[in-house]
């Protein structure tokens, strides 16, 4: 008989004794896969939405220090930078502080912030589907800020207290009603944690009022807080950075800013990796033990196979092939279980608002490369675990193995 058909026949007839190993290995695969699928999806959500698409291709330019002589970030700068080669877009950000007052009393001090399509915040709840661009008088609040839980105010009218310039060093508060049109995940740190998004006109109005400048030409006289220059390709970034700095803008790349996943997902990811190691070792040790025990029980069989003319290599190959088949079955089972586990895990995580945007797909499917490498790793680990005991068994002389007389 050929090696694989005999291995298959053996695995089938020994299936009851192999169940334990299959359960162990498939559980290991399932848990790892579940963790990988969930965190993989979350990672790809952040990656796709932000990292790869724009943030990694972006430069940010901050408003110059007063008296530094560096150019202001005006509407003209936006045009000038937009004309540089290999620039995809130039986006601006303006912030103006305001105090939030709700029906429950004074809330946190927030920064009204203009929305940049290249760096959209992860919106958790909103009053309508296409939230951006915001209308005048609308704000999008962080889910939490300065100890205040703001998620509950969705759709409600609140008051924004802004400052109007009176004279140098003195201002007066002005109350203005605004509507909470959306809530975003407060772990989003790109525009600082206290950012509240508002329509451009609203932010300009508040910023101008605060500085005592007319809103009409505020963007030419004072300018934006920050510009984001998005290059066409990530590889264009260094050259673009040089050109922007040549024009005396204080530019930095955004790349390093965005690495963090929400804490719980980071935890799952680290746990998944730790589990992978632990379970890998477990699967290996399990295989060594099971193969060793089976090989001892089957020494007679090994002897018989050698006695009827199989070479040592064949017997070794047979024992390893059997375990590889077991591993393959366990891997398939583990993948099915793992997808189920990931689905259940994602459903559980969706109940946590800050994690929700990252696990929105119904079934987080791990990427093909993860699947294939995990399955391959399973087979390799199990086969490697089987090797030493199998070699010991296969090397025995037939008579020694059989103890025939």
């Amino acid at each position: 008989m050929s090696l694989w058909s005999l291995a298959l026949a053996n695995v089938w007839s020994l299936r009851r004794r192999l169940v334990g190993l299959i359960v162990l290995v498939s559980a290991a695969v399932a848990v790892c896969l579940g963790a990988f699928a969930i965190t993989g999806q979350a990672q790809s959500v952040t990656t796709n939405d932000v990292r790869e698409s724009t943030a990694n291709r972006s430069l940010t330019i901050d408003r110059p220090e007063e008296g530094s002589g560096n150019p202001l970030l005006t509407a003209r700068s936006v045009k000038e930078l937009g004309r540089l080669p290999r620039v995809e877009s130039v986006q601006y950000r303006l912030q103006a502080s305001f105090g939030l007052v709700t029906a429950d009393g004074n809330g946190p001090l927030l920064y009204a912030t203009t929305y940049r399509s290249a760096l959209p915040p992860p919106v958790v709840k909103s009053v309508r589907k296409d939230l951006f661009p915001l209308r005048e008088g609308e704000v999008v609040l962080p889910s939490r800020s300065q100890g205040f839980d703001l998620g509950a105010y969705l759709g409600e009218k609140v008051t924004a207290t802004t400052t109007r310039f009176v004279r140098e060093g003195e201002g007066t508060g002005v109350d203005e009603p605004v509507t909470v049109a959306g809530i975003y995940d407060a772990t989003w740190q790109l525009d600082n944690p206290d950012a509240a998004y508002a329509a451009d006109a609203t932010v300009v109005k508040w910023a101008a009022a605060r500085s005592g400048q007319p809103a009409k030409n505020y963007l030419d006289t004072v300018g934006y807080d920050q510009l984001t220059v998005v290059a066409q390709r990530e590889s264009d970034v260094p050259e673009l950075l040089r050109q922007v700095q040549d024009r005396h803008y204080t530019a930095t790349t955004l790349r390093q800013v965005l690495h963090a996943l929400p804490g719980i997902l980071e935890l799952i990811r680290v746990a998944g990796q730790a589990l992978l190691a632990v379970l890998g070792v477990l699967a290996f040790v399990g295989t060594v033990t099971v193969t060793g025990a089976l090989a001892r029980q089957r020494a007679q069989e090994v002897g018989v196979l050698k006695a009827v003319g199989f070479r040592t290599r064949f017997v070794l190959g047979l024992l390893v092939a059997e375990m590889s088949l077991v591993a393959a079955v366990a891997a398939v089972l583990g993948v099915v279980l793992g997808v189920g586990l990931a689905g259940a895990g994602a459903a559980g995580l969706r109940t946590l608002p800050e994690v929700r945007p990252y696990v929105e797909q119904a079934l987080p499917l791990p990427s093909v490369s993860v699947l294939v490498s995990l399955a391959a790793a399973t087979v390799v680990v199990v086969a490697a675990g089987a090797l030493a005991p199998a070699r010991r068994a296969a090397r025995m002389s037939p008579t020694q193995a059989m103890k025939d007389w």
């Binding site: 008989m1 050929s2 005999l6 026949a9 053996n10 007839s13 020994l14 007679q300 069989e301 002897g303 018989v304 196979l305 050698k306 006695a307 009827v308 003319g309 199989f310 070479r311 040592t312 290599r313 002389s397 037939p398 008579t399 059989m402 025939d404 007389w405």
Partner: protein
């Protein structure tokens, strides 16, 4: 007459409590095509040891074994395994079937053929040993005698020129014993060298030659049959092996 299997000056000792115990010393042996050769002797005299040496399962301390013209001295494990597979069919004293597999698969396992051809041959052999109805039974579901016959079918699956059987009639009743003996003789008459270790007088009487082991020494062989070259039996149509001589039974001693 050609010796298909030959042992020359074979010695074997086993270590026991720090001492070396000689089991076989300087044993010569040969088995010829077309003959049933018996090895007899008291229990513990080394019959199984010799058969295992002849079957290339154990290496002798001294001396060598020649199988179908191939001197096995100094051959590597792999080559020895190949010879076992192609030239030797071994029927063990305790059958040594694989417990998890059916009679059919047990027969099939050493087969060098593949697929349907192998299946057909295995079925044919099981029918020949009278187990056509038991092909799907596992060893635990077979009697000792039936397991013995599965072991014989397995030994025949690659149609080896040499068959070695250790106490093949050990667990059989009179009728089964007679049938097995007839089968062994038939296999010999088809041109194989059939070697049996036996305590059974019926077997040694039916054998063409008998070796006796006592005190580690070999006596014999006793030729029990006159060779009648004019009484050759033609080989069967499916067994094209050179037919051995047909032998007339003379008075047993």
């Amino acid at each position: 007459m050609s010796a298909l299997l030959e042992a020359r000056g074979v010695s074997k000792a086993y270590p026991f409590r720090g001492r070396s115990v000689d089991i076989l010393s300087g044993v010569d042996f040969s088995a010829r095509a077309g003959q049933l050769t018996a090895i007899v002797g008291h229990s513990g005299t080394g019959k199984s040891t010799l058969l295992h040496i002849l079957g290339l399962l154990t290496t002798p301390d001294l001396g060598g074994v020649v199988v179908d013209g191939t001197d096995t001295a100094g051959l590597g494990d792999g080559r020895l395994a190949d010879l076992r597979r192609e030239k030797l069919g071994f029927v063990f004293q305790s059958y040594n079937l694989l417990p998890q597999h059916s009679a059919l698969r047990n027969t099939l396992i050493p087969s060098v053929r593949r697929g349907k051809e192998a299946q057909d041959r295995a079925r044919l052999l099981l029918e020949r040993v009278g187990l056509g109805e038991r092909v799907d039974h596992r060893p635990a579901q077979l009697s000792g005698g039936e397991q013995q016959r599965v072991a014989l079918a397995r030994a025949l699956v690659n149609d080896p020129p040499v068959i070695l059987a250790d106490e093949p009639t050990g667990n059989l009743d009179g009728e089964s014993e007679r049938r097995l003996l007839a089968l062994l003789l038939e296999l010999a008459r088809e041109g194989r060298a059939v070697v049996v270790v036996t305590h059974n007088p019926a077997v040694s009487e039916a054998a063409d030659r008998v070796y006796r082991i006592a005190d580690g020494r070999m006596q014999g062989p006793d030729e029990q049959r006159a060779e009648g070259p004019d009484e050759r039996r033609a080989a069967g149509p499916d067994e094209q092996r050179a037919a051995g001589p047909r032998l007339r039974k003379e008075d047993s001693r």
